[in-house]
């Protein structure tokens, strides 16, 4: 599995064999992971390398992926099925690589210290609360892409992800889960994470006494991001414009003036920031919804028909085993830089602050209504007065989009479906909470 060759040689070999459309991809990476539990820990040092080829003509095609260095001499599979079309090279705008791409991976002692500190902070925040397990992955990678259509790109990434599971001390306590991602693992703060876990545990331990309620609802970034992601068909792909038509009001809007949705594959400082996507197409900032008005969907090069100007580099290719597929890169609700999340809470006279999703939101097949399992705090006069758990946040999609009253500046991303989806804390009116049966 170690051919010792290059993707240029692979491209040359296949082109000489008569294939008109050929693309070769090579990725190398290294990562340090630590899995932590109260009874053991496992440190893993991975060096991963692999390559892949897409080749075909108008009638048939194949995909071949292998670990190790590229090998132009492998026995290729027979082509079959549909024909293959690849994108041509397109120039990208200037881009400066982030400075922390080369920062060293987190050390074993650092990782162990991080988890010990987090367990200690969690117990300080909420006596008896325990960290059941934690998984930290800190890695860097470099990928190269060449194609018969003169695409030649190099992309580097640096991503750290963290998965935490914790539980409270109460007999009715259920486990809680927290997933976050950053460019650099050293940005994970044990104190801040312990506070978030403690809040999630607190609200998980008690059920709401009301069977249903309305009021002002403050959605934490993870809740709002989950809803945006669940509605991704409204923003992404060639059917998006059609799907939003029933949501358009007499002013031509699908949402409130506070609704501005953006996708930006080169968002500075973001986790997946890159000049090109997984097919070598330049990434860029695209406004999908502007102050409530739908502008355009997020489209890959092959989805925009006769109008290539609509295309954006939005093909995700997480690794050499993966085929590229269109997805959000960094899809986010534009924050309001002047408002702190704490101000939104303080100004809440009566309502709920929903801080976690207990599962994926459910969207009706015609995008008319939604239901999301949530947990959070009841708020009165800007202060928490109780908790709500095992409740559904329900309403019409139109009410959700039009009910966004204000936003904070705390834009936070969650890794969803391979891409990053983000939102600040948002204040929404018109939705309802219902007890789960």
């Amino acid at each position: 599995m170690n051919g010792g060759g290059s993707i240029a040689e692979v491209l040359d070999r296949l082109s000489r064999s008569g294939w008109r459309e050929v693309e070769a991809f090579h990725k190398k990476g290294r990562s340090r992971t630590m899995r932590f539990t109260p009874y053991s820990d496992t440190t893993s040092l991975r060096q991963e390398e692999g390559w892949s080829v897409r080749a075909g003509d108008q009638r048939r095609s194949f995909f071949y992926a292998a670990s190790g260095t590229p090998d132009p001499g492998v026995p290729w599979p027979e082509a079959d099925g549909a024909g293959l079309r690849l994108p041509s090279a397109r120039p990208g705008s200037p881009w400066s690589a982030p400075s922390n791409l080369d920062a060293p991976l987190i050390g074993e002692g650092e990782a162990r210290g991080f988890f010990s500190g987090l367990a200690r902070e969690l117990d300080n925040e909420l006596a008896g609360a325990r960290l059941l397990s934690g998984y930290l992955d800190d890695g860097s990678s470099e990928s190269h892409l060449l194609s018969s259509r003169e695409v030649a790109t190099t992309v580097r990434h640096r991503v750290a992800s963290l998965h935490l599971e914790a539980v409270g001390s109460g007999t009715e306590s259920t486990g809680v889960v927290l997933d976050i991602a950053e460019r650099d693992a050293r940005r994970f703060s044990p104190a801040a994470l312990a506070r978030r876990l403690a809040d999630l545990i607190l609200v998980a331990e008690k059920r709401s006494s009301r069977s249903r309620d309305r009021g002002e609802l403050l959605l934490a970034p993870v809740v709002a991001s989950g809803l945006l992601a669940a509605l991704s068909d409204l923003w992404i792909g060639p059917n998006a414009r059609q799907l939003t038509v029933p949501l358009i009001d007499r002013n031509g809007r699908i949402g409130s003036p506070a609704l501005t949705l953006i996708d930006n594959g080169r968002l500075p400082g973001s986790v997946l920031e890159a000049p090109f996507d997984g097919e070598g197409q330049p990434t860029r900032k695209i406004v999908l919804v502007e102050q409530g008005s739908f502008r355009q969907p997020l489209l890959a090069w092959w989805q925009c028909g006769s109008n290539p100007k609509l295309a954006s580099g939005c093909s995700l290719r997480p690794g050499w085993r993966d085929l590229p597929r269109p997805s959000a890169t960094h899809l986010y609700l534009e924050p309001d830089r002047t408002v702190r999340a704490a101000e939104l809470i303080q100004n809440l006279t009566r309502g709920y602050y929903l801080i976690g999703l207990d599962g994926p939101p459910r969207i009706h097949s015609d995008y008319s209504r939604f239901a999301a399992p949530v947990r959070g705090f009841a708020i009165a006069g800007g202060k928490p007065t109780g908790t709500v758990a095992r409740v559904w946040l329900v309403g019409s999609v139109s009410t959700l989009l039009n009910g966004i009253v204000s936003k904070a500046r705390d834009l936070t991303f969650s890794a969803i479906g391979g891409g990053m989806v983000g939102s600040p804390t948002v204040l929404v009116k018109g939705l309802e909470l219902r007890q789960q049966t």
Binding site: M1, D41, S44, L45, P77, L132, L323
Partner: protein, 444 residues
Amino acid sequence: MLGSMSDAPFTQLDTAGIARALSQIADRPSDLADVFFERSETIELPPASQAPGFRVWREAGLAVRLVREGRSWLAGRDHIGPRTFNDALRRVARAMPRAPYPEPELAAEPWDEAPEASEVLTFPTTLTRALRTHHVDFSIDLTLRRHRRWTRVVGTQLASGTESENFYSCDVEMPWGRYGTLLEAFDGESAEDLARRLVNLYRARDATPPDAWRGVSILGASATAILLHEAVAHALEADTLAHSGHPEAALGVRMGSRLLDVFDDPASAPEGVKRAADDEGFPVVRRCLLRSGVIEQPLCDTAWARRSDRLTAGAGRRGNRHLAPGPRSSHLELVPGELSRQELFADAEGGLYLPEADRGHLDPITSEFALHFPYGHRISHQIPGEPIGPCWLKGGLRDLLDKICGIGAQSKPAGAGWCAKDGIKLPVWATCPEIRVEGVEITP
């Protein structure tokens, strides 16, 4: 279609030299050091409209591991060779001798056979023919895969033989839903079985879910297999048990009905996936998880077995070389009871027959359990009658397993599927009879 390489890609390894090299880093009496060799291939035929049309993934690599006093270090590489082995060895070593042993010979057999799978290419036609015999006509998008994997573990004290697995998976997209399963082969028999399941789904596509029901329910062999996987196997994995104390404390605890005798036996799994050793190189055992409803031996890997004389290793599984092993089941067996099908369905008028489950979940903290059935039938005149729509079985684990009140006499391979606990995808298999439960709540 298996080429000569497939039989034993790791026969030429210098196991003595590897063990000697590993002994350099296992310098304490209780240390465990090993190297896991892996080669795998997946061949996929996507739906006809999708490009690229024929897809192949081939991987080879190794991972060196050191286990010491509750801590593990693992170094994985995507290549098999003396240098990568030595580099991985240095990465996990807490200290290396000043004069290390020479690099061992690490020549895996060359992989020069062409990636072919004619049985994958012909299966769509075979399945279409099988569907036509049921006189139904609906569109399906098929994704078919053949999975092959070879592994070998060499440690300081043992060297397993090469383990191989060869099986197939199938994902079917239909206008009203999705169906996925694992198969032992792509042949006429499996096509007929798959066609029958798809037709059942088709005929129940518009059926109304049942009202909440607490009477008799009969679970088909496939549904029983998924229930056992989620409710017994996951609950008895040592790392799950550790959420609420030492796994050893579970031994001898009653978990369910006295009718339940449940084993995990990788050696009696279907022909293509049966195993002699686990992914840590330990010989597999016919592990009795439940005897008469009482916990006898949880699922343990080496790390857990080293913590207690009463726990037995041999159930360590790895998703791939880059992941540490964990305790998992491979092939579950529910020992058949004595009830004929007629006896199983006796006095069950108006009850529910639930032939298949498509997903389940066990909360390891609260032991709350949920199992989803994509469709079922209302029992009428002691046989499955009119179809019913999707429904859930929910409740506490102990309560649910206590309410199993009858076990069929006829056992069969059933419920094969992917387990995705902790995001690690592993194929699991089962051999089960049908079971009868009473007093469990089934809800829409």
